[in-house]
């Protein structure tokens, strides 16, 4: 693989990290597998696109995408998931129903055409380094992924809230018994996780473009990341994203038509030895 392709893999991994970290936070703490996560990504992208085109500001688009999707997450959690708490399977299938509704609603509002979120002026064009010519925007995505990793790490390991989230991943009942309102921690995590899907939609929408089945595609990649990395682990998401991002790029270069198949191999090998993923812990 050339440096160019490695960079492509890394930037795709960074995008996967943004999307899948939200997914795994919710999965790890709330035990909810949010299959609407892909739909949240897509809607975040569409909101970002609309706001970005209307206002011309990428920052505003990002804030709108995150806030809009966090709001949908709020409605999903408080309006629907509250009825099926404690039952894993019903929760998953309910979010699947939500994914269908959201995807179809997005089709009604934004239609079936494919859109690309406008990239702000300073990030357009390419830079030259080590003799290669690489799009600035994709490097920006890589940077955002790294910054997000650091921020999430600081949040989880250096703040009280993070300590509560980590404690909640291990034993939510004990945290509640020690006088913490774990419901609020849960809600915050759900909103944060949803907002990250929205952010991912905006970031990805600018270089992968947005179209009606983009949500399913990103969901498969996120699932692969979480299956490889393990539930609720930040390091797991990072490693999983890198693996899936690089393998996918490698696959697209080597076997353009069967690229999907290439992420399947490592998942298979891994599951044979560690059914809960690289960093997964049994409950």
């Amino acid at each position: 693989m050339t440096t160019f392709q490695v960079l492509n893999g890394l930037t795709f991994a960074a995008l996967l990290f943004v999307v899948a970290s939200g997914f795994t936070l919710i999965f790890g703490l709330l035990r909810i597998v949010n299959l609407a996560h892909g739909a949240l990504y897509l809607i975040g992208g569409y909101i970002g696109y609309t706001v970005g085109v209307k206002s011309g500001s990428f920052l505003l688009a990002g804030m709108a995408a995150m806030a809009g999707v966090a709001f949908i997450g709020f409605v999903l959690d408080q309006g629907l998931l509250r009825f099926v708490r404690g039952n894993d399977l019903r929760q998953v299938l309910l979010t699947l129903g939500v994914a269908f509704v959201l995807n179809d609603m997005a089709l009604v509002i934004w239609g079936g055409d494919s859109f690309t979120v406008p990239i702000p002026e300073p990030l357009r064009g390419a830079v030259t380094f080590f003799g290669i010519f690489y799009p600035k925007y994709r490097l920006f995505v890589l940077l955002v992924g790294i910054i997000l990793f650091i921020l999430l790490w600081l949040l989880l390991h250096k703040t009280r809230l993070g300590a509560l989230i980590r404690a909640g991943v291990d034993d939510a009942e004990m945290v509640e018994a020690s006088g913490v309102n774990i419901r609020m921690v849960f809600l915050f995590t759900f909103l944060l996780g949803s907002a990250l899907a929205g952010l991912g939609g905006l970031m990805g929408g600018a270089f992968l473009s947005l179209y009606p089945s983009a949500d399913a595609e990103i969901l498969v990649f996120s699932l692969a990341v979480v299956i490889i990395g393990g539930r609720g682990s930040l390091a797991g998401v990072a490693v999983g994203s890198l693996l899936v991002g690089l393998l996918n790029t490698f696959g697209q270069v080597m076997f353009p038509e069967l690229a999907y198949f290439v992420i399947f191999g490592p998942m298979a090998v891994l599951l044979a030895f560690r059914p809960l993923g690289l960093f997964g812990k049994a409950t």
Binding site: V92, L93, L94, G97, V101, L223, A259, Y260, P275
Partner: protein, 314 residues
């Protein structure tokens, strides 16, 4: 009368009634009835895992569709329909065996996620491997043999196959092997300590389930004469699972009730609006919140309550 003879009697009556349907239904409705039978088989194959092994699969739409793809591809390449059907079913069983190899060590949500991801990989391949699968346009071929061209004849043949398959699946889940699967569903650790090879049982159960899904997918190829990535898409798995759930997980023949309910709903909705996907999603959400035991189970529970209150009055 034992439970088994009762089931068989009711089954025979149901088949006889179903055989008379084409005499009263319109051509279009016979087509719908055929579809109910095909998807009833798919829903039963999902129920083998969900109801009897405690594993909810979201990959069966893909397993089903693989057979559809293979049958249409082979027949349009000049193979005989019977050979193509056999190869289609074989392909589905092989795909199911591959899924099973990976998924047997997982359970609950992990099993669901893994089968979902695997099913999506099949979808991705069908979408991208344009040379063989025709990509987004899919494959079209007038593959139904001339003797089955009449919609009534086709319906009766499908009904006969469905009856045989239903009997086979019923025997399968009642066999010692099926009882072992139920044991695994109820307590995996107990079955393991009793000396049963749990992963092997799940592997065989999954492969057999995939075989039956392949039968449904193969018949669907002759019914539809067309296949596209939407046949292997997640929506297909979801619809199949929804039919199983609506019919009642673990009831087996409830699958046909579920298939009839969902297909009827789909047709009513589709004649009014293009938003079938939204209605499907909302149906799923409502069933999960209100009646996760399925409509059949819900009705049975309500009837039970009524008869109990009656008997308490008397």
């Amino acid at each position: 009368m034992t439970q088994a003879t009762r089931t068989l009697t009711i089954g025979a009556i149901a088949v006889a009634v179903a055989a008379l349907l084409p005499l009263v239904l319109s051509t279009y409705q016979v087509g719908l009835a055929t579809e109910v039978l095909i998807f009833g088989i798919l829903a039963m194959s999902i129920d083998i895992l969900a109801g009897f092994a405690g594993r909810t699969s979201l990959g069966h739409g893909a397993i089903f569709g693989v057979s559809t793809y293979v049958v249409i591809y082979l027949v349009s390449q000049g193979s005989s329909p019977v050979f193509a059907l056999g190869m289609g079913i074989l392909a589905s069983a092989v795909v199911a065996a591959v899924f099973a190899l990976l998924a047997v060590r997982t359970s609950g949500v992990y099993f669901l996620l893994l089968t979902l991801a695997l099913g999506m990989i099949v979808w991705g391949i069908c979408l991208r491997w344009t040379q063989v699968t025709g990509g987004e346009n899919g494959l079209r071929g007038d593959i139904r043999p001339a003797i089955l061209y009449d919609h009534k004849t086709f319906y009766w043949v499908v009904l006969a196959v469905t009856a045989v398959i239903s009997f086979a699946i019923w025997r399968f889940v009642r066999s010692p092997f099926g009882l072992t699967l139920r044991g695994i569903r109820d307590s995996e650790s107990r079955m393991r300590s009793l000396g049963y090879n749990v992963p092997l049982h799940l592997f065989i159960g999954f492969t057999v389930s995939g075989f039956f899904a392949g039968v449904a997918g193969g018949i669907y190829a002759f019914f539809n004469n067309f296949v596209s990535p939407s046949t292997v898409a997640l929506a297909q798995s979801v619809e199949g699972l929804l039919m199983t759930i609506v019919g009642g997980v673990g009831t087996l023949f409830g699958s046909f009730v579920g298939a009839a309910a969902i297909i009827t709903l789909e047709n009513i909705v589709s004649s009014h609006t293009e938003r079938w996907q939204t209605v499907l999603g909302i149906t799923f959400i409502l069933i999960m919140i209100l009646a996760p035991e399925g409509l059949v189970g819900k009705v049975r529970a309500l009837l039970g309550r009524v008869s109990r209150s009656k008997s308490s009055v008397s």
